[in-house]
Structures are given as structure tokens and as C-alpha cells.
């Protein structure tokens, strides 16, 4: 078991918040990229054919 001592809550809170924020920006980046790629595909399909 990992030893956290009396500051367990503090450390877990810091890790929790950071992981949440990082996950948020990663998800946002990936989702926006997928959406942009799809939109562009559809538009290029229309323009070229």
C-alpha cells in the first residue's frame, strides 16, 4: 500500500484535480479534431464530386 500519511486528502485532491483538468483538455482537443475532420470530409466530398 502506498504511504500517504496525514496529508492523504491533500495529495489525492491535487492529483485528482490535475488529472481531471488534463483529461478535460485532452478530450476537448481530440473531440474538436474529430469534429473538424468530419466536417471537412463532408465539405470536400461536396466540393469535388
Amino acid at each position: 500500500m502506498i504511504e500517504l500519511g496525514k496529508y492523504a486528502g491533500t495529495v489525492l485532491a491535487a492529483y485528482g484535480v490535475s488529472v481531471l483538468l488534463l483529461a478535460g483538455i485532452v478530450w476537448h482537443s481530440v473531440a474538436a479534431n474529430a469534429r473538424a475532420r468530419n466536417d471537412l470530409h463532408r465539405q470536400e466530398g461536396r466540393t469535388n464530386g
Partner: protein, 241 residues
């Protein structure tokens, strides 16, 4: 052929598409490795488990500043050499920088709670990061407020330039205003004593991880912006016939 050739959108898409998987793999390995390793480090004799927050706080704080510097450089490249990808890279980097600043602020505040006895202290460094966060927010808000992409790129570029000067100025003004309780150099725990290897290596790994993570996100987000711009351009051409 000069290095500027890579600023061409098509070439950028090809190159970034090729290196992106490697950067992503490296980012995941180093970030997860560094952060988990940091989480598993032994307790510090003085700070207890709170020392583990360093592995998030320091890399995030480092990236918060570096990303702004990178935005300043890409803005200058746009303003001087008119490379469109450069302007888009600055736009793409800003939200990542804001999140990094937020992580540095949150972990700093959480770390300070048991140390200082309150969730927020107007410590000069924390305050400087709060100000930096305000600059990020203003920059992002300006990008999203202007419809014409050329004007948006120019105006945010000018704002980034002026903002950089004032962010730096604020840093010194804040030092004057409050001398602070923050730890000195980030890489030493006790004053005058270097951080021991037990903490140093996971910290280096974590810093590398955050850097690669930023690079990966930057590439993804810049690609998103390029696709959006291309979509808008195609639509504009369709309308005009």
C-alpha cells in the same frame, strides 16, 4: 528550401501527421510514468506526502510560462513573416496554457492549505500565475470574439506582445507588493540543499512528460484549426462561386 517551408499548411499537415503518433506515445509514457513514479515516492521527513504534489505543480508551472513564451514567438512570426500556421499554433496553444496555469494554481493552493493553513494566500508566485491566467483568458476571449480570421490573428498577436510585457511587469510589481512565503528554487526542498535523487528523477520525467503532452496537444489542436480554416475557406469559395 528553408525551414519556413514547413509553415505551409499542406506540408505542416503531412509532417505533423507523421510525427504525431510518436509524440503521443512519448507523452503518454512519460507523463503517466513521471506522475505515477512521483506518486510512489517515499514521504519527505519534513513535508510528508505533500512533496508528491511537486510532480504536478512544477511541470505545470513550467509549461504555463513556456507556453506563453511559445505563443509570443509564434505571434511574432505571424506578425513579421505572415505564416498562417504560426498564428493558428498560437491560438491552439492558448487553452493548453490556460489549463496548465490552472493546474499550477490548483495544486499550489492545495499544497498551501496544510502548509499555510488557508486555501489561498496572496503569495507572489501564486498571484503571478493568477495574473498569467487572466492574460490567457483575455487572449482566448479575443480570438473567439473576432469573426474575421485575419483581423483576429493580427489583433491577438498585438495583444500577446503587449500582454507579455505587462505579465513580466506584473511579476516584478507583485514581488514589490508582497515578499511572499513560497519556496525558493523549485528543485530544492530545503534551502541550500539540492533535492535528493529520489525526487529529482521522477520530477525530470514528469517535466519531459508535460512537455511532450503539450507538443501532442499543440499538434492536434493546430491540425484542428487548419481543418477549420480550410472548411471555412472552401465554404467561402462556394458562396463566391
Amino acid at each position: 528550401m528553408s525551414i519556413w517551408e514547413y509553415a505551409n499548411p499542406v506540408k505542416f499537415m503531412r509532417l505533423s501527421g507523421a510525427i504525431l503518433p510518436w509524440v503521443v506515445v512519448g507523452a503518454v509514457l512519460c507523463t503517466v510514468g513521471g506522475v505515477v513514479w512521483g506518486f510512489l515516492t517515499p514521504l519527505d521527513y519534513k513535508q510528508g506526502a505533500t512533496v508528491k504534489i511537486v510532480f504536478l505543480h512544477v511541470p505545470a508551472a513550467m509549461m504555463a510560462i513556456n507556453i506563453w513564451v511559445m505563443m509570443l514567438v509564434t505571434s511574432l512570426i505571424w506578425l513579421i513573416r505572415r505564416h498562417h500556421v504560426s498564428a493558428l499554433a498560437a491560438k491552439a496553444a492558448a487553452p493548453v496554457g490556460a489549463v496548465m496555469t490552472l493546474i499550477a494554481l490548483a495544486t499550489g493552493a492545495i499544497w498551501g492549505q496544510p502548509m499555510w493553513g488557508s486555501w489561498w494566500e496572496w503569495d507572489p508566485r501564486l498571484t503571478s500565475f493568477l495574473i498569467l491566467f487572466l492574460f490567457y483568458v483575455g487572449y482566448i476571449a479575443l480570438w473567439s470574439a473576432i469573426e474575421d480570421p485575419d483581423s483576429a490573428a493580427d489583433l491577438t498577436g498585438v495583444l500577446c506582445l503587449v500582454g507579455s510585457v505587462f505579465a513580466l511587469l506584473s511579476r516584478y510589481a507583485v514581488l514589490f507588493w508582497n515578499q511572499g512565503l513560497h519556496q525558493g528554487a523549485s528543485l530544492s526542498v530545503a534551502p541550500g540543499e539540492r533535492m535528493s535523487a529520489v525526487y529529482r528523477y521522477p520530477l525530470y520525467l514528469s517535466m519531459l512528460g508535460f512537455l511532450l503532452l503539450f507538443l501532442a496537444l499543440l499538434l492536434i489542436r493546430t491540425r484542428t484549426e487548419i481543418r477549420r480554416r480550410r472548411l471555412a475557406a472552401l465554404q467561402a469559395r462556394e458562396i463566391r462561386g
